[in-house]
């Protein structure tokens, strides 16, 4: 029988590292899996986990059907296993649908990515464009972001000083997050003096190359308490896609994110997300994206990202207390890290980053050049 609610029972994160040269991603996943099994005691098979949703990327893994390399390790032998090739947060959306439909009542999600394996992240994201035009033009996610940053900073009045402030704050929180990659606290001067990668994006405005893995156990309402005393409920999930061809998009409109937010909020019965959410985790690969995505999520008005930062919006709304993607997650599973952190906050397990009595959290992710595709997950304690 179909359940009414789906819970995230437990999360496990591999510490993000710049270069896990001594581990295969199979080793990383195994560490995460054992952590999750230790927390929940879940088993595979009859009455246990019967379906696994993995999340990984063929280009980053440099193999086709990237899940085939890890199914044994994540327990897929003789069980159902399906791969989310879209950004990892959608694995939660998919698992949520599996459980709500009554197909299965327990789903394991396992995501991995080793960005350090390939010679260049930009060469990989260049392949995200069509081979005739986009690739030939030299587009990749970094310089696509550069174009968006230019347009957005003109529109919102966001300044280089504010970009530095966003990075400084990210590192301060990352220092308290045992799973973050870049935990070194940096002064604003160092951010502003860091080399220009793609005007206006400086090296320290960009998320560091990261290796990581995340696991989550999801269960129906009826079974959640077998695995946890603190279930966190999925109350809203939605995603929205913008045009593939870069030139067809208004880069500052946040159209896809606004639509995904509206749909997720409607599902969760939330009128005003900024009033409802105690914590927000957004996928900010580049510093300018944090205020821009907060606009899209409705935490400030259109084009008001500069003012949002000036008025201390990130602190007021408890944005990215994990350090965010700016402190380093693999891009393709960044949404799973956002969801894991949001879950910890709602379970009261966020350590030095804990927001007292957090009841509602929003986790956001994006994929495709300059925020082509957005996903929004709303969780409640």
């Amino acid at each position: 029988m179909a359940t009414k609610r789906v819970a995230i029972c437990a999360v496990a994160q591999h510490k993000n590292e710049p270069d896990l040269w001594y581990k295969r991603f199979q080793n990383m996943l195994l560490d995460v899996l054992e952590d999750l099994q230790g927390q929940t005691g879940f088993k595979y098979g009859e009455n246990g986990v019967g379906i696994i949703v993995s999340a990984s990327d063929d280009f980053f893994d440099a193999r086709t059907i990237s899940n085939n390399g890890v199914t044994d390790v994540i327990g897929g032998q003789y069980l159902a296993e399906e791969k989310m090739a879209q950004e990892g947060l959608n694995a939660i959306g998919y698992a949520n649908a599996i459980i709500l439909s009554g197909h299965k009542d327990l789903v394991l999600i396992m995501g991995h990515c080793k960005e350090s394996q390939g010679e260049s992240r930009n060469m990989i994201t260049n392949c995200g464009f069509d081979p005739f035009y986009g690739r030939a033009t030299g587009l990749d996610y970094l310089n696509a972001a550069g174009l968006q940053a230019q347009a957005y900073m003109r529109k919102s009045g966001l300044t280089d000083d504010q970009l530095a402030e966003i990075v400084v704050r990210s590192r301060q929180w990352a220092a308290r997050n045992p799973y973050a990659n870049a935990q070194e606290v940096v002064p604003a001067g160092k951010v502003k003096a860091s080399p220009m990668l793609c005007d206006p994006i400086r090296q320290l405005h960009a998320y560091p190359v990261s290796d990581g893995a995340v696991g989550l156990l999801l269960a129906s309402e009826e079974r959640a308490r077998e695995f946890t005393d603190n279930p966190v409920w999925i109350t809203g999930f939605a995603n929205c896609m913008d045009a593939f061809f870069f030139g067809d998009r208004d880069l500052t409109s946040n159209f896809a994110l606004k639509k995904a937010t509206a749909n997720a909020c409607r599902r969760a019965g939330i009128q005003d997300l900024k009033k409802a959410a105690d914590v927000a985790e957004v996928m900010d690969c580049y510093a300018y994206q944090q205020p821009m995505w907060m606009e899209g999520l409705g935490f400030c008005g259109d084009g008001e990202g500069g003012r949002f930062i000036a008025e201390g919006g990130p602190g007021k709304y408890r944005v990215n207390l994990s350090g965010g993607t700016l402190a380093g997650n693999p891009m393709i599973i960044s949404g799973l890290y956002r969801a894991a952190e949001a879950t910890l906050q709602l379970q009261g397990g966020a350590g030095d980053r804990q927001v007292p009595d957090a009841k509602c959290a929003v986790a956001h992710s994006t994929n495709g050049p300059a925020g082509q595709f957005h996903s929004v997950l709303i969780l409640e304690a």
């Binding site: 896990l20 040269w21 001594y22 581990k23 295969r24 199979q26 080793n27 195994l30 595979y44 280009f59 440099a62 044994d72 390790v73 327990g75 897929g76 032998q77 080793k114 350090s116 394996q117 390939g118 010679e119 260049s120 060469m123 990989i124 392949c127 081979p131 005739f132």
Partner: protein
């Protein structure tokens, strides 16, 4: 002679001297053998030396060659030559085989020969033919308000006299030359055909005296614009759809991790290591992080073999070339399932069998690995397994 894609294997070789580019073959000294099987096939030998190319047909043995290209049938050979069949596909399907340096051939041949094209089956184009269909090319919109009568006096083979009248948005053609022409153009019929098909430049033909214009020069120059351009039926069809050839290559550095790392370290000492499941005692080769049946980490290692016996094998007749180096392994090769001494049932190790041993390979054959002289911790440390009974 068997024809594929509109041509024959023989024509490809017969046109080689004409397609040869001596200036691009400086220092090239090769003998390339061609062996094309099936109907319409045969053997040819190409010798390139001192910036000259010699092609000869060969009966029997091709003799010593720098490289030999073997095609299973004429269709494959012609298809690959015309790029209608991908060379890589043909190689990997075993329809084509190269003895020698594939990459050298792939680079050298396009360098020293003009690409072969299928000879056109020509439609006869005549001045009379072009003129009789002139009404179909007439553009009333371009000739609005124009009244013009002009004539062609075409001499030589296929010649004739013609009068063209443009008036009231229509165009008519009649034989013979009227007296009241605005302009008359006199030339050989072949010159007219050349100008219409684009092989002769009209202005140059006039200045060189091949065309004589009597009457209104401006009217003569304007005649072209009242008609759509004549399309030569023999002209090569324009290629409308292009494909983009590109190798997508991003350097990778694959971690071996603590478990696979042990395997490679073992190879360096000529040892075949398996990891052991602590629950069911399976020997996992290659070593794996976990036993996927018992969902437990493997921790111990055990050396298997080196001898074993074959429980299954297949012979592989195609080999995919390495896209970057062009290297292709010899075919056929055997991929054999080997139960190494000490391995638990079902945990086989797959590897190649020594080429010379293939005729005696059977289920149950006892085998042992042959190692590289200086193992470095790579898969190439095992050259192959040889049969020992």
């Amino acid at each position: 002679m068997a024809e594929f894609f509109g041509t024959t294997v023989a024509d490809i070789f017969n046109t080689m001297p004409k397609r040869f580019k001596p200036e691009a073959s400086k220092g090239v000294d090769v003998v390339i053998g061609y062996d094309c099987g099936g109907e319409g096939g045969g053997k040819w030998k190409l010798t390139v030396k001192d910036q000259a190319a010699r092609i000869e047909t060969v009966e029997g043995d091709l003799g010593p060659c720098t490289a030999t290209i073997i095609a299973s049938d004429a269709e494959t050979f012609i298809g690959v030559t015309l790029q209608k069949i991908g060379a890589i596909d043909a190689l990997s399907q075993g329809k084509m085989k190269v003895i020698g340096d594939t990459r050298m051939l792939m680079t050298l041949l396009p360098q020293i020969f003009v690409q072969y094209t299928v000879p056109a089956k020509k439609t006869e184009v005549t001045a009379r033919g072009i003129l009789s269909a002139i009404g179909e090319r007439f553009r009333p919109d371009k000739a609005a308000g124009v009244t013009l009568k002009y004539g062609y006096d075409l001499t030589g083979e296929g010649g004739g006299q013609f009068t063209i009248t443009i008036a009231n948005g229509t165009c008519t053609l009649k034989e013979g030359l009227d007296a009241d022409l605005a302009v008359k153009m006199t030339m050989e019929a072949a010159t007219y055909v050349g100008m219409m098909t684009g092989t002769i430049d009209g202005a140059a033909a006039f200045t060189s005296g091949k065309v004589r214009i009597d009457g209104d020069m401006m009217a003569a120059a304007a005649t072209g614009k009242y008609f759509d351009k004549y399309v030569d039926p023999n002209a090569e069809e324009a290629e409308e759809l292009l494909s983009l050839k590109k190798i997508t290559s991003i350097n990778q550095r694959f971690a071996t991790g603590p478990v696979m790392g042990k395997w490679f370290a073992g190879l360096r000492e000529k040892k075949l290591l398996a990891s052991v499941c602590p629950v069911c005692r399976r020997t996992l080769i290659l070593p794996q992080e976990i036993c996927q049946f018992c969902h437990v980490r493997t921790k111990e290692y055990v050396e298997l073999g080196p001898e074993g016996y074959v429980t299954n094998f297949d012979l592989v007749y195609f080999a995919s070339p390495d896209p970057l180096s062009g290297e292709v392994r010899d075919t056929p090769y055997a991929c054999a399932w080997i139960m190494l001494e000490g391995a638990t049932p079902e945990d086989a190790f797959a590897f190649e069998i020594k080429k010379e041993d293939l005729p005696k390979l059977k289920i149950g054959s006892r085998v042992r690995p042959t190692w590289a002289e200086k193992p470095t911790g790579s898969f190439r440390d095992i050259l192959y397994f040889e049969i020992i009974d």
